[in-house]
């Protein structure tokens, strides 16, 4: 890790990171408010009425809903709004970290310093993980703050919330590592960003289709999102295997980048 590069990366990202974290915190805060205000009552009505199957459909996709506090936390973490905001910061940063500098021509100015490519990569990987941790902390922090303010915090187990945060960080750490691996492999931002967004969007589509359409259930194991099930964690059945799978994907992405980046030729920008 290079402290100089890390501080510079932080300084360059802090404004965007602040806005993204603020938006995520507000998003997270609103969900317990919705749950406490009318989600609870509507949930009770649905469970007793003819629309129980609607709850069942909701519960299939990572359990995101506003009819239980667990569903509210899950919704806060897996809703496309939250995923898009976290992806902007984590996946967007990682995809542009090397390929973007290479495209602008500033990478050669940086690598002309006594800075090894391996150190550059590990520093950017560390920054990617930090952004994943902070953005997910903003959502979870917003949710917890909302739950406390609206008097529903007692329905949550702190350890389960912490495990949710950890699993979410692992998920976006993996997506960030894939984006960074793509970034070190290309001279242009376009292909790196395309691969990074492709993995994220296709992975989300696989999980979405697989959960809602039984015939597409075979797609789910191929999606990183399959290995983050907040509803299950909040129900007290955390699966350490999910973290192991994410860890294996992360290791593969890091191994690719560690092999390719130091061996790549960085020809003059054209």
């Amino acid at each position: 890790m290079s402290g100089i590069l890390f501080r510079r990366t932080w300084a360059a990202q802090r404004v965007r990171l602040s806005f993204v974290m603020l938006a995520l915190a507000v998003w997270g805060f609103l969900l317990p408010a919705v749950y406490a205000t009318f989600g609870k009552e509507i949930g009770a009505l649905l469970q007793n009425g003819a629309f129980a199957n609607i709850l069942d459909i909701f519960s299939r996709f990572s359990g995101g809903d506003v009819f239980s506090i667990q569903g509210t936390v899950a919704l806060g973490l897996v809703h496309p709004i939250a995923l898009a905001l976290v992806s902007i910061q984590v996946v967007g940063f990682a995809a542009a970290a090397v390929a973007g500098e290479r495209q602008r021509g500033t990478l050669e100015v940086l690598l002309a310093r006594p800075l090894e490519r391996r150190v550059l990569y590990t520093t950017l990987l560390g920054a990617t993980f930090l952004y994943a941790a902070l953005t997910e902390a903003a959502v979870v922090g917003g949710i917890v703050a909302g739950a406390v303010l609206f008097g529903v915090a007692s329905e949550l187990q702190p350890i389960d919330v912490a495990l949710c945060w950890l699993n979410a960080v692992a998920l976006f750490g993996v997506l960030g590592a894939i984006a960074l691996a793509a970034s070190v492999s290309f001279d242009r931002l376009g292909p790196a960003l395309g691969i990074a967004l492709g993995v994220t969007l296709v992975g989300y589509a696989f999980e979405f289709l697989g959960t809602l359409w039984p015939d597409a259930a075979w797609l789910r194991p191929f999606s990183p999102f399959r290995y983050f099930q907040p509803m299950r964690i909040l129900a007290g059945t955390f699966e350490p295997r999910d973290l192991l799978v994410l860890g294996a994907i992360f290791a593969a992405a890091v191994a690719w980048a560690a092999w390719v980046f130091p061996r790549r030729d960085l020809a003059a920008p054209s």
Partner: protein, 325 residues
């Protein structure tokens, strides 16, 4: 020209030394059932040079000749296809970061972090070195970058100012070796002069400058030795003085009175070529020493005499006119 295939041990005194350094891009990979693809590009072929410590070394060639490829190999941005390179006694393939810690580099058409101010950029780029930026104040002063300029974001800089800040970032930590790619690009004549003075000081301080350019007049002005490459291959490696000494000078003379004996003697003088005598005017090319010519003209009825110095540009063009070997 170095003998191709000769492999001699590197000398410790060389700031840069290469042996058979070769870089081909797009090497064909042979997979069963796959077509071979396009032929590889020979960006650099068997380059063997030695840049001595303390000299200003010019590296000449037109665009696409392989200058930037060679520089990128020295910096470890590219991996050689064959051959090896040492910079400041260290192998660039195994000690890239250590090498870069002792050099300063100005890329051609430098790209900078537009969101930073000049001071922030210099602080950031200088912080990676173990050496403090001892020369920054002097360079900033010489290149007329005011405190107000340095407080502005780089996105507001003109091309010339970007080049100046590029020069400062390359030299501010007093590197043992400066690798400068087209360093005077974008500088006005006054700043070019200031820059040449900076280079002279680097040399006086025992530092080495590796200078890539296609502005031949400036190479002639500042460099001790030059290497000329064409299509990735070295075609000349010698001192500027030696290169110029071998070049043809152009001589023009105007006579006050007819002097047929003098004209005949001049036409027969060794080294004289393309001799033309029209009325009172004489014009010819002269290779080699000028002393015999001056002795002959000593008692001639001369009204005017012009001996144009040999120029590096002529040498360069001559080497480029020769068929590729």
């Amino acid at each position: 020209m170095p003998d191709r295939g000769t492999r001699v041990p590197f000398r410790r005194v060389d700031a840069i030394a290469t042996q058979g350094l070769t870089k081909h891009f797009g090497l064909r990979r042979r997979w069963p059932g796959w077509s071979a693809g396009p032929a590889p590009t020979r960006a650099l072929d068997d380059l063997t040079i030695a840049v001595q410590a303390g000299e200003i070394f010019g590296f000449l060639g037109p665009n696409g000749a392989g200058k930037s490829t060679a520089i990128r190999l020295f910096l470890g941005f590219l991996h050689p296809t064959a051959g090896r390179a040492q910079v400041l006694g260290l192998d660039v393939a195994t000690a890239g970061a250590a090498v870069r810690g002792r050099i300063g580099y100005l890329p051609g058409g430098i790209a900078l972090y537009d969101g930073l101010t000049g001071t922030q950029l210099l602080d950031y780029l200088g912080a990676f070195y173990a050496r403090p930026p001892v020369l920054r104040a002097s360079l900033v002063d010489r290149l007329e970058l005011s405190g107000r300029d340095l407080a502005r974001p780089i996105r507001d800089y003109s091309r010339g100012m970007r080049q100046k800040i590029g020069i400062v970032q390359a030299l501010q930590h007093d590197p043992e070796l400066a690798i400068l790619d087209e360093p005077s690009e974008g500088l006005d004549p006054l700043m070019q002069r200031a820059f040449y003075a900076i280079l002279d000081e680097r040399k006086a301080a025992g530092r080495t400058v590796f200078f890539s350019s296609h502005v031949l007049s400036e190479v002639e002005r500042v460099c001790d030795r030059v290497a000329i490459i064409r299509a990735g291959r070295l075609v000349a490696l010698e001192s500027v003085a030696a290169l110029l000494a071998r070049r043809r000078r152009h001589v023009e003379a105007r006579l006050d009175a007819p002097a047929p004996a003098l004209v005949a003697a001049l036409a027969a003088l060794p080294g004289v070529s393309a001799f033309e005598a029209r009325d009172d005017r004489l014009a010819f090319g002269l290779d080699g020493d000028v002393a015999p010519l001056l002795r002959l003209l000593e008692r001639a009825p001369l009204a005017d005499l012009t001996i144009e110095p040999a120029r590096l540009e002529d040498a360069f063009l001559e080497l480029y006119d020769e068929p590729a070997g």
